[in-house]
Each structure stands twice: as C-alpha cells, then as structure tokens.
C-alpha cells in the first residue's frame, strides 16, 4: 500500500519534471502564433503575422506595431551564424579527428599532456575564454569579425570533436587496420578504405555537435564579434535586452525547430551505428 503510493508519487514528480523541461519551450511556440498585437500574453487568435513580419512580408498588422528594426539585420546575423558555424564545423572536425587518430593509434610521451590540454577548453568558463580571446585579438591586431569568431569557436570546439571521435575509435576493431597493412596497403589507403568509413558516424556526429554549439554560442561570440558581424544569438540577446517583442517568439520558434531537426538527425545517425557496423562486417567477410 505504502509502496504503491510511493510509486505514484515518484511518477507524478517525474512527469512534473518533464513539464518543467518542456513548458517554457511550448509557451514560446504558442505565443509565436498569437495574433494579439498589443498584449502578447493574452490570446488574440491564431496568426502568422509575426512570421511574416520577421521576413519583411506585408501583414495585416498596422505598421506601428511592427517592432523589428530591420529584417536585413536579422537575416544578416543569420547568414553570419550559418557561415561561421559551417566553417567552424569543417575546421574543428578535421583537426579534432586528426588529434583523435594521433592519440588513439600512437604511443608517445606527451599523450597525457595532450589529453589534459584538450580537456581544458571544455572546462573553462565561457566568459574567461571570451575575454582572453578579446585581449589576444586586440593585441595581435586581428580585427574583430567573422575570422576572429571562427578562430575562437574552433579553439574550444576541437575538444568536443576529439571526444566524440575518440569514443568511436575506442570501440573500433584494430584487427581490420592491421590486416589491411599486412596485405600491403599503404597507411593512406588503409585510412581511406578502413579507418575513415568505420569512424565516419563519429566524425559526422562531431561535425553536427560543433555546428550546433557554434550556431548557439553566445558568450564567447559576444566578446569577439565586431560591430558589423553579429551572429544570431548575439542579435537575439540584444533584442531581448531592449525589450520583449512578439517577433522574438517567431524567431525563437524557428530557431528551436531548426536545432531540434539537426539534433534529431544526429541522434538518428547515432542509433544507426550498430547497423552500419554490421554491414561493414558482412562486407569484409
């Protein structure tokens, strides 16, 4: 009897936990379709006007309730974010994968040191990373802009890729590589035909992770983005600090949908790993 009661309490508590997790996100989603132009907290019927407004399209709202300064700025920051995240993901994935290969396939004296070195950027508070990079760029003479943002993002995202790819390498059967080498394949051929296909899910996972984190990074970018290279999170942060406007709900909803889509693809790829391995095994035999 007591036990049943305890079970029910625990289930109720856990469901509340998930409500806590998803209610805030759900609220933004609902508010973004609220057609009430004066008070966005009171439901005024379904409307897509805020979405039209952020893309600069004509809508049924009067001009004086359009709060967004300029669609160009918003789209410009989105473009900056996308290009920064793409280049960052590319660079940090290549370097992170090379590093993971070095640490997994070679024995050398500085191994422990490198592990620690790669661990540090992940544990450093964002604000420390941001301002140390700011001081650095100002002193070295690299102008603040897209380039400084990309450098800043790569300097800590390489660690994330390293972790993801290392995990993949650790679970890999080294006998295939050995067999390939024994059969006379050169290291590059072995890497291209054996190692790379087997660690590919890890590499793609690392690339997606660094893309998402780069897209979403606010603190570091906040310090090292120049005047005319604002990224989307920095732009939204500025908007919120100037005041709550209904357009933010629409932008926020789109942003959440986009990142959830990427995350879903990533998780799908991760779940597919065992199948991919099996396929390779049968191919090999």
């Amino acid at each position: 009897m007591m036990r049943r009661l305890g079970q029910n309490l625990l289930s109720g508590y856990s469901l509340l936990f998930f409500v806590f997790l998803y209610l805030p996100i759900g609220l933004i989603f609902v508010y973004s379709f609220n057609g009430n132009p004066l008070n966005m907290m009171i439901w005024g019927g379904f409307s897509l006007d805020w979405y039209r407004s952020i893309f600069g399209m004509a809508n049924s709202l009067a001009d004086n309730v359009q709060y967004i300064e300029s669609t160009d700025q918003l789209l410009g920051s989105l473009r900056t974010s996308l290009s920064v995240a793409l280049i960052t993901a590319l660079i940090s994935t290549v370097i992170g994968t090379l590093t993971a290969l070095a640490l997994a396939r070679f024995r050398f004296r500085l191994q422990g040191f490198y592990r620690m070195l790669l661990f540090m950027p992940m544990m450093m508070p964002d604000v420390v990373l941001g301002i140390s990079l700011l001081i650095f760029f100002v002193n070295i003479g690299i102008p603040l802009g897209k380039v400084s943002i990309i450098i800043g993002h790569c300097s800590f995202l390489v660690s994330y890729v390293f972790i993801v790819v290392s995990a993949r390498l650790a679970g890999m059967d080294t006998r295939l590589e050995e067999a390939s080498a024994d059969l006379g394949a050169n290291p590059w051929y072995t890497f291209r035909r054996i190692t790379l296909p087997m660690i590919l899910p890890g590499v793609i996972g690392g690339a997606l992770l660094s893309f998402i984190i780069s897209m979403d990074d606010l603190v570091i970018t906040y310090f090292i983005s120049g005047v005319d290279s604002t990224t989307l999170p920095v732009y939204i942060y500025g908007m919120i600090r100037r005041g709550i406007k209904p357009e933010i709900n629409a932008i926020a909803t789109l942003l959440i949908l986009a990142s959830l889509l990427i995350a879903a693809v990533g998780l799908y790829l991760r779940n597919r790993q065992p199948a991919a391995l099996k396929a390779e095994d049968s191919h090999g035999s």
Binding site: L10, S11, Y13, S14, F17, F18, F20, L21, Y22, P24, I25, L27, I28, N39, M41, V94, I95, L98, T99, L101, A102, F106, Y114, L117, L118, M120, M123, M124, P125, D126, V127, V128, I131, S132, L133, I135, F136, I151, C154, S155, F156, P187, I212, D216, L218, F223, P233, I236, Y237, I240, R241, I244, I248, A252, I256, S259, L260, A263, G266, L267
Partner: protein
C-alpha cells in the same frame, strides 16, 4: 621518405597529425590565457588602455583594498563573488534534488519508454540557450505567464520574481539540468538491484538502505554531475544579465562590465584569473577524489 626508418616515418606521421591541434590550442587558447594573466598584473591606463607597470592592486581591489579608483575599503566585489558561489552551490543542490528521483524513475521503465524519456532529457541541450532563457523572462516577469496562471486559479499573488536571485537560480537550473541528470542516471542504471534487496532482506530500513547502499553507489554520478553544473554556473553572466538584472550581479557580469562598460581591462582580467583559479581548484579536488575512490575500490 624511403630513406627513413619505420620509426622515423611514424614520428613524422605523428608530428603531422598533432601540429594542427598544437597550433590551434597553443596559439588561440594557451597564448590568450597567458596574455590575460599579464594584463591582470598591469596598470590600468587613463583611457581604457594599459600601462605595462607591475601593478598587483587589481587583485587587492577584489578583496576591497583601496586603490587609485577605489578611495576607501569597500567589499562590494567580495560580496558579488560570495553571491556567485552561493548561487552556483544552490544550483547544484536544486538540480541534484530534482534529478535524483527522476533518474530512478527513468531507470525502472522498460527499454522503449526509457530511451524515449532519455531522448526528451537530452533534446533541450540542443535547443538554443538564449531562447530557453528568454522563455523564463516571459514566464517570470510581472505580467508574465506565472502570474496569469495563478490569476486563473484565483490566486492574485502578483509575484515579482524576475530580477531576483530566485529567477537566476531557476534559469541556471533549467539550462544545466541535462548535465546533472545524465551522470546521475549513468550511475543509477549501473546500480546492482540485488544489493538493495540484500540490504532489505537483512532488515535494514528504507532510509538505512538509501544511506548505506544506494547513496554511496551512486556517489560517482552525483559528484560528476555536481562539478559539471557548478563550473559553468559560477562564471555565468547571461543568466544574471537576463533574469537577475542590475540587482543580482555575479562574477561573470562583473568581468563583462569591466571589459565593455568600465573599460578597466586589468581589473577585469584579474577577476577572470580568480574565476579560472577557482574552477581549477574545484577540478583538482574532483580529480583527487576520483583517484582516492579508485584506490578504495582496488582495496580487497
């Protein structure tokens, strides 16, 4: 290349694999930190620049000692640092209390449901941070969702939660909760159910079983989750800036102010050095407790 021995060729390969990361982390992580350390000991210049004189007073100013810009003994910065530690510790404590029971609940579900709920917990991690915090601005402000909801229930509480320590605490718990949940869940899942049954068969009360069996066995997860949540909470400045306003400053907000508003870079760098030092101390303590736990486990 063919003249090289096998060992020499491997060396060359290793060098090639490691040089990019060495340049990247050495040049754009280690070097900036060293320059920041140098700044923290330089003298602030008149118009936001620095004079390269040895000037340890920035660190003294944190503790409240008078310096050029602070005429009198003033512990305002010390108060902000203590508040940061208090809020970060509370964040750890609250997220621990929230996650621990849920981890047990999830671990007892059947495989399909379990995977589904684990997916639900990891998903918000991928959703934009700024958007998730913005949601709490909508909920907590005076005309926000919480007060409207209470009003619908017939309670006219008129809570003014935003721009308070409570709001900052809620925000931090909300964004860091997956980091607490996953390590705890990992150790709860590994928990051998037979040990709990054995403890109960031997007549231990439920509280005794929890304290003597369950808690020690899940401690690694609790410790890992606590450190992963504590570190980013301590240095956070986005949450206090959006949900704490000017009233609830934390170390991170102070650093930001010194760099972007007050333009006293050496003082900001000194604060950042202190933040970094505290993080390193906590990490070190954690790693030491890990190795001690391993030593204990190795004991017959």
């Amino acid at each position: 290349m063919s003249g090289l021995t096998l060992q020499g060729r491997n060396r060359l390969r290793l060098f090639g694999l490691l040089s990019p990361v060495t340049l990247l982390i050495g040049g754009f992580f280690v070097a900036p930190l060293l320059i920041m350390a140098a700044y923290s000991l330089a003298e602030p210049g008149m118009y936001g620049g620095v004079e390269w004189n040895f000037y340890p007073d920035s660190f003294g100013r944190v503790l409240g000692w008078a310096d050029g810009s602070n005429e009198e003994f003033d512990i305002v910065y010390l108060e902000i640092i203590l508040r940061s530690f208090r809020i970060a510790l509370l964040t750890v404590l609250v997220s621990l209390l929230v996650c621990y029971p849920v981890a047990f609940w999830v671990s007892r579900l059947d495989a399909r449901k379990r995977n589904f709920f684990l997916f639900l917990i990891t998903l918000p991690f991928f959703a934009s941070l700024i958007v998730r915090l913005y949601a709490w601005v909508l909920i907590l402000r005076p005309s926000g969702f919480l007060n409207q909801f209470l009003h619908h229930l017939g309670i006219n509480a008129e809570l003014d939660l935003i721009y308070s320590e409570t709001a900052v605490l809620i925000g931090l718990v909300y964004i860091f909760i997956p980091f607490m949940f996953l390590p705890i869940y990992a150790s709860v899942e590994k928990l051998d159910r037979r040990l709990i049954e054995a403890s109960q068969d031997l007549g231990a009360s439920r509280w005794q079983t929890f304290r003597k069996v369950i808690l020690p066995l899940t401690m690694p997860g609790v410790a890992a989750g606590s450190i992963i949540v504590f570190i980013p909470s301590l240095g956070n400045f986005i949450v206090p800036s959006l949900l704490g306003g000017a009233k609830v400053l934390m170390i991170g907000s102070l650093v930001e102010q010194q760099f972007l508003a007050a333009r006293n870079w050496p003082f900001g760098a000194a604060l950042a050095m202190l933040l970094m030092a505290s993080v390193l101390v906590f990490l070190l303590l954690y790693v030491r407790s890990l190795s001690r736990a391993e030593a204990l486990e190795g004991r017959p």
